[in-house]
């Protein structure tokens, strides 16, 4: 038996991947369907010298990991929709103060407290715009365990590279499903380690003055360099400022550092797009049903393809436009009322040819649901 071969839940895969990157601090509050992430962290972290904290709520959880990250730790928290709502204020703080952290949202069905043990993908727009004010954010997802591992490692790498919170937007099916995974060996996936400031004690330190390559070194809080950290608009020393030029520069910096690198951040997978007449666009667990339909129809010679998005934000508009240029129809498969559908419509040249195959009742979208929409589009009736 290959000892790297495991048969585990997606939530556990996420934990393994986080530990693979060197995560050493986790704070959280349990909530279905993300609880297994916390449980496994509680088991694993103390054994390797890390710290695990169960907090009083999700607000405290995110605040705790923000603080730990500032002192030099690799950090993560995990929650589901209701907890993610509570985290929005601290999320904005982490974006503005440019603090690397990873937030996992294992999506449940429904709105508000919803249907905890069922599946949904309704938090796509919340992940993008849930916290107030102009900002950019990185949101990633995956549909199978091998990808959950790779994308989780990627999330930590991107958090360090761009000094930003990264949201992993999984869902109940991927989180709870068990399937096989080969845990990659050490060094198999490259890791981005924290870029630390090298300014000596007593020398004027500019914690918010990016280097020429755009990266912003961090000085561990409480270490060599004293500096201010705030959610207020701030200057290059980290002190509050209402100077229009400073404020303008800060907002541009926060947005540009991510939007301008969309092509580097955007991860996706494609299946049979070369000659596809109809292209399905999907992500997360819904992409499994989409791929099922595509493989099935391809075996019968029908020209169907799948574009599986793994980066949802920044949305890769250019990619969708390019891949769908020759398609007659585009069908977005997702478990919400059309949150990625809107972004796809903006991307393509002929938005009237974009359709939605969705499900919003907590039931995992089936290949039949998708086939019914395809039949309608093709004028065959249901």
């Amino acid at each position: 038996m290959n000892e790297n071969l495991k048969f585990i839940q997606g939530n556990e895969v996420c934990v393994e991947a986080a530990l693979y990157t060197g995560l050493d601090f986790f704070a959280g509050y349990p909530i279905t369907p993300s609880t297994e992430i916390m449980e496994h962290m509680a088991k694993r972290l103390p054994k390797i010298g890390g710290k695990f904290l169960q907090m009083e709520d999700e607000i405290a959880s995110l605040c705790a990991i923000i603080g730990a990250s500032l002192t030099g730790h690799k950090v993560m928290t995990a929650t589901s929709g209701p907890g993610f709502s509570l985290m929005q204020e601290a999320l904005g703080y982490a974006i503005v103060a440019e603090i690397p952290c990873v937030i996992v949202n294992v999506q449940r069905g429904g709105s508000s407290t919803g249907i905890p043990t069922h599946v949904g993908q309704g938090d796509v727009m919340q992940a993008r715009w849930g916290t107030h004010g102009d900002h950019a954010i990185i949101v990633m997802t995956a549909s199978n365990h091998q990808d959950v591992f790779a994308i989780t490692v990627d999330a930590f790498n991107l958090a360090e590279t761009y000094r930003t919170p990264v949201i992993l937007l999984f869902d109940e099916v991927v989180g709870h499903m068990r399937e096989r995974i080969f845990i990659p060996k050490k060094g198999e996936i490259p890791l981005v380690e924290r870029l630390r400031a090298s300014v000596k004690r007593g020398v004027d330190f500019h914690p918010y003055l990016p280097r020429e390559d755009g990266r912003l070194p961090i000085s561990d809080f409480g270490g060599v360099n004293r500096h201010n950290v705030t959610g207020l608009a701030h200057d290059m020393w980290g002190f509050p400022s209402d100077n229009p030029q400073v404020v303008h520069g800060l907002i541009r910096h926060l947005v540009d550092k991510i939007q301008n690198n969309t092509h580097k951040i955007a991860k996706y997978k494609e299946y049979y797009l070369q000659d596809a007449r109809t292209i399905l666009i999907s992500y997360g667990s819904a992409a499994r049903s989409a791929l099922h339909v595509v493989e099935n129809r391809r075996s019968r010679g029908e020209k169907l393809g799948l574009l599986e998005l793994q980066t949802l934000w920044p949305f890769p508009y250019y990619l969708v436009q390019e891949k769908c240029a020759d398609a007659k129809y585009v069908v977005v498969v997702e478990m919400n009322m059309g949150q990625i559908l809107q972004a796809v419509k903006v991307s393509v040249d002929r938005p009237e040819r974009v359709f939605l195959a969705n499900r919003i009742d907590g039931v995992f979208i089936t290949p039949t649901d998708i086939r019914n929409i395809l039949r309608l589009i093709e004028g065959k009736g249901v």
Partner: protein, 180 residues
């Protein structure tokens, strides 16, 4: 190989999900197969209808749920009433005589096994009911080898309870073979 689609159903607390996980894990870790296991359950810790789907195959599995099971296992009346209509024609329906009173014919092999009764008579502890069911399933179908399941039991079951679990598995296999 033909794709095996199984639905395990019953009431929360019966160990339905655990049994499904053990079967799928045995297939993946010790028989070099591909398997996916999913579950659906209510918010309660005990009670409520529980269902776990397992697909075992030698090729990639994308859609992880089972619409029409080849094998349907019902360990509660509620589960039987709800799920017996979805069985694939020609499939296998396994119910427990203590918990389920079958009341209609399905287009499938129907096996009503006294699994609970056997466990209580021979072992006296209801906690291994699920493992006895797993044994019966293996006895009836040969989807995975009993040796593979035993290897999984060794890694998942605390050593104090391993013996009664192995015994329950053997009892179930005998039962399954007898009703084959």
């Amino acid at each position: 190989m033909e794709r095996h689609r199984l639905v395990f159903s019953g009431s929360g607390g019966q160990g339905i999900i655990t049994a499904a996980v053990i079967l799928a894990e045995a297939a993946v870790l010790y028989e070099n197969l591909i398997a996916v296991q999913t579950q659906s359950y209510g918010a309660e810790a005990r009670g409520g209808a529980t269902r776990s789907d397992v697909i075992i195959s030698d090729s990639a599995i994308y859609f992880p749920k089972v619409n029409q099971p080849n094998v349907l296992i019902c360990l509660s009346q509620e589960a039987y009433n709800k799920f017996s209509p979805i069985i694939r024609p020609g499939g296998l329906l396994i119910t427990d005589t203590r918990y389920v009173k079958t009341h209609r014919k399905v287009d499938a092999r129907q096996r009503e096994l006294p699994m609970y009764q056997t466990v209580m008579e021979k072992i006296g502890k209801p906690i291994v009911f699920n493992i006895c069911m797993l044994g019966a399933l293996i006895g009836l179908t040969d989807f995975v080898k009993s040796g593979s399941v035993k290897k999984v039991l060794k890694t998942r079951i605390p050593s104090d309870f391993l013996e009664i679990n192995e015994k329950a598995l053997d009892l179930g296999m005998k039962l399954g073979n007898a009703y084959k």
